[in-house]
Amino acid sequence: MDKNKQIILALVSVLVLYAVLEALMMIGILGPYWQEIMRYAMVVAIGALGLSIIYGFTGQFSLGHAAFVGIGAYAAGLFNLTFRHYGIPAFLGSLVVGAVVAGLVGYLIGVPILRLKSDYLGIATLGFGFIVTNGLQNADKLIPALGGARGMTGIPQVQSFGWYYALVLIVVILVRNFVFSTHGRACTAIRENETAANVVGVSPARTKIMAFTMGCALAGLGGALYAHNIPFLHPDSFNFLESINYLIVVVLGGLGSLTGTVITAVGWAFIMEVLRMVLGPLYDFRGVIYAIILVVVIIVRPQGVFGGIEASFLVPQIKRRKAHAAAGD
């Protein structure tokens, strides 16, 4: 089968890419500094896939996504520090905790605010983001281990790139299966036309809340990974600007394109460092050049770099035989 070939080819290329990256790390071409950015890129990719479900596929504007990444990071960190187990089971456990806590908070906040539409929803989520950062800054008054404005330290680090890479793959497959399931199609229907979707029996409230909860849970998973990648958590790492960054990644990647979201997330994580290398002594200009790149790219491709493009192995094959049978009847 053509489709099976494609999937096998995709699997092989994913493994080859991993092998090449690991080899480059072993030889030392990719030093510890680049490795940290590679892991960070994986974190951004997972968080961005979460926002992709919320905004890209369901059309619910969120300007507070980084807050859920932060909730996941702090929840995972607190879990690890409380139970003082530093092995791989504790690492995986903390990932679950991060995702569940962020998903739960997303559900609780989503129920009231998802009634708002477009820009107003964006502003409400933006406000929620500020409340979370503000809360985290003062969280040490309730739970000293969270560190408040001084930041949270002491979370055990997991630095093998394999975990991060594998988790991105798992999340891509999960999101892909969700998007092309009944529920995922309900999300797309809501994005395209809420009233029409409602008329054909898709509940807007339930679908939006489901998508928002899932997206926030993925943000939490990304946050939990973040907590294991960088030994210092600070509320400002999850502020409004960081939420804007997730939005940039998802929109530049192309709304509704998983391939675009992942590639742009990785590209975005590297762009500042690459600019710094390229610019050398003109290093001060990197912010200006980043801003110009942003404006030029969006003007040249308003639908996003990979808008309307999806890697073919991610798209399910239409069951031809059934269609023919139906046509024959």
């Binding site: 708002l116 409400a124 406000g127 929620f128 409004f240 940039i248 980043y290 801003a291 308003p302």
Partner: protein
């Protein structure tokens, strides 16, 4: 009681500064439905231009104010020409990302050493400090200047919008671009003009902000701009009296929270109030709840 009235006065000072900035957000949103993220940075440029005007060029402050307004208007119009106009008929989110890019550009460009520099700048306003005590409440001349300036420009804006040809063009374009074009209104020119007016108002906000809170840096516009924007949303975005009302409420909420609850919680409380208001009135205090057409 006296201290409460004192807080109201302080809140009014902050609210008036927010009001002139919020007007720019609301005018642009009213006319092209775009959250102009770069507006806060135009405000920052205005604050620095006022400071350069009265410190280095030794201009009297009203002249420096006009200079800041002109520079801001030019920045605002250029911004619209370069970053927003090519995307006017693309998806709204594309223009929003472009606005974010423009905002980053202004912030990073102004942070360069040969522009405003990356550090905090402590400024010395050109006005001698005078404080009057009326019934125990301290009122400074800066507060009076802010009140008078903002009220004067609000009145001028009202005149411009309701009594001039350009004003009625702006109202027409905000109603419907195509209908405006059919009526012979130059839509592009009107939008440019709206950006010029909104940005000039941000320039006023910048200069007045410098008088009231004499410490500037190039990322000043992020937080202040965001709060002014939130104020515009609170009042009902796209509605000019709403922006002023929202800004005055925002100023009071922030100062009252800082005074009576906790100064660390001032942003959180302001945003919590915003969310609650939006849940009760999804289009803001003065906004109309329009039924969606099928």
């Amino acid at each position: 009681m006296v201290s409460f009235i004192q807080q109201i006065v302080n809140g009014l000072q902050l609210g008036l500064v927010y009001a002139v900035i919020a007007l720019g957000y609301t005018m642009v949103y009213g006319i092209i439905q775009l959250i102009n993220f770069a507006h806060g940075d135009v405000f920052m440029v205005g604050a620095f231009m006022g400071y350069y005007g009265y410190t280095f060029l030794k201009l009297p402050w009203p002249v420096a104010l006009v200079m800041a307004m002109v520079v801001c208007a030019v920045v605002g119009v250029l911004n619209e020409r370069i970053a927003y106009r090519p995307l006017r008929y693309a998806a709204k989110i594309a223009a929003l990302i472009s606005a974010i890019g423009a905002s980053f550009f202004l912030e990073y460009f102004c942070s360069l050493n040969f522009v405003f520099g990356p550090d905090y700048t402590v400024i010395h306003p050109p006005i001698p400090n005078i404080t009057w005590i009326i019934g125990g409440v301290r009122i400074t001349n800066v507060q009076v200047i802010i009140l008078v300036t903002v009220v004067v420009f609000l009145a001028l804006l009202q005149l411009l919008i309701f009594k001039t040809k350009m004003g009625s063009a702006m109202r027409t374009v905000s109603f419907n671009h195509d209908a405006a074009r059919l009526m012979g209104v130059d839509v592009d020119q009107t939008i440019s003009f709206t950006f010029a007016i909104g940005s000039a108002l941000a320039g006023i906000g910048g200069v007045l902000f410098g008088f009231a809170y004499p410490e500037l840096w190039t990322f000043l516009g992020v937080m202040t701009g965001l709060k002014a924007f939130i104020a515009a949303v609170l009042g009902g975005i796209g509605i000019i009296p709403g922006a002023v009302l929202g800004a005055l409420i925002m100023g009071q909420v922030e100062i009252m929270t800082a005074a009576y609850i906790s100064s660390q919680a001032r942003d959180a409380v302001a945003f919590a109030i915003l969310i609650i208001v939006l849940l009760i009135r999804p289009s803001g205090l003065l906004g109309r709840n329009e039924l969606e057409k099928i």
